[in-house]
Amino acid sequence: MGNESLEFSGFEDVRKISTLLSREYTYNFLKLLMNYRDISASEAASRLELHIKTAQDFLEGLTELGILEKKSVKEDKRPYFRYSVLKNDLRINLDISAFSFPGLDEFKKKRIREIKESGAVFKEGKEMAIRAVTIFKGKGRSRVSNRINLTHCQGKFLFHLPFPTGEPMAVEKIIVKSGLNKECLPEIYDIVQLMIRNKVIE
């Protein structure tokens, strides 16, 4: 067993380790792993009253992340794996500031307006704002709708978005016209990108 720590900082790795740690049986499983020199999936499954496939998947998951190591063992000519702990100090470090949208400065200057016959349905709210927007995807029977409830910033922004026949306006100017401040920019970016992808805004 190594004493080195193992750090998870990438989102995908954090997601995988979090999924494994969140299982109901994880606590007891880790106890087994820390106290047995090594263990097979069938031994762990019988000890914890789990289905062998569940135990197998859990062990494989931890092995993939580098927490366990597995060794092939032959018994009665049938090979199987035995698992043991490789790293016992796990650290999860997720910096969510890295999730900030990129290119916001460029986005501010982008001139936009609603597209003609976009088909989106806007639900009016109070105080000069849109409360929700419903975007439709597909045609005919396969058409599906997606209703998005808007934040205060997004609602005010979309209320002041130029009409399809109006002159396109820079995002920063629409923000000023809507009486909003620059702190709203990231959430506006999100809804605008979604609406550009769905051909509601050009």
Binding site: E114, S118, V121, E127, M128, L161, P164, T165
Partner: protein
């Protein structure tokens, strides 16, 4: 000849008028005089109730001329009353109220102003670029006191120009095709209706519903149309504040 931008009267209204005339004529020819009297009476009495209720809601004294006319003409021909001598009194009263009734009709005192409002809004719009959206149009900010907006909305209601929905922070002026459905609380949801909103803060916004947009012959440039509708109601508000509301009525009558 004035060029209209609104399509001609809807088939629904024509159909109702035709059905009423057919009912009256067939009542006379098929059922005889009594059936004719029933039809005539029952065609008028509901209007008496409607006009009385509209007076209660709007307090427009004009309805105190029209409501008695419908009531007395209905009672005059109501067969159980018609057999009594008192029906002559009702007939005389109906004749007396007939004069102010027709004056009211000729002077368009009880007209719903739906068509005129749409026509006036479209008047300065030349482009036909379409661009319909169901989003409201922010029309800017005006200098307005809360009480002025409240009185203005009451004036618009009294003159059957718009139906006001009063909220704490704003007044929504619905421009309905059928004013009675709002007066009788059949309709309450303004979100799909054409409306102008005056907020107490002075913000004005306009929403033109799809039905009203389709009422125009051409696909008028939508943002210009919304802007023009807002300008119209803001201009009327200024006139109302200056106590020149007769100019608003004249503008509507002249269309």
């Amino acid at each position: 000849m004035k060029t209209r931008k609104i399509k001609t009267m809807s088939l629904g209204l024509i159909a109702i008028t035709v059905i009423l005339v057919i009912l009256l004529l067939s009542g006379r020819t098929l059922g005889g005089e009594e059936i004719f009297h029933w039809v005539l009476s029952l065609a008028n009495l509901p209007f008496a109730f409607i006009h009385f209720f509209v007076w209660l809601r709007t307090r427009n004294p004009v309805y105190l001329m029209t409501f008695p006319y419908y009531l007395f003409i209905g009672l005059t021909f109501l067969p159980p009353v018609h057999k009594l001598k008192v029906h002559l009194v009702f007939a005389i009263l109906a004749a007396l109220f007939m004069v102010p009734f027709f004056v009211t009709l000729i002077k368009k005192k009880i007209n719903w102003r739906y068509r005129e409002v749409l026509e006036l809004a479209a008047k300065p719009v030349e482009g036909k670029a379409d661009g319909f959206t169901n989003r409201p149009y922010p029309a800017g900010n005006i200098d307005a006191a809360e009480e002025d907006i409240r009185q203005y909305s009451h004036f618009l209601f009294r003159e059957m120009i718009a139906y006001p929905l009063v909220e704490k922070e704003r007044i929504i002026l619905v421009i309905p095709k059928n004013m009675w459905s709002w007066i009788f609380f059949v309709k309450k949801d303004y979100s799909k209706a054409t409306h102008v909103i005056f907020e107490n803060s002075g913000n004005v916004s306009v929403k033109i519903a799809e039905d009203e947009y389709k009422a125009y012959k051409d696909e008028l440039t939508f943002d210009h149309l919304c802007s023009s509708m807002a300008d119209l109601f803001i201009k009327w508000f200024e006139l109302f504040k200056k106590k020149e509301d007769e100019k608003i009525i004249k503008e509507l009558n002249d269309i």
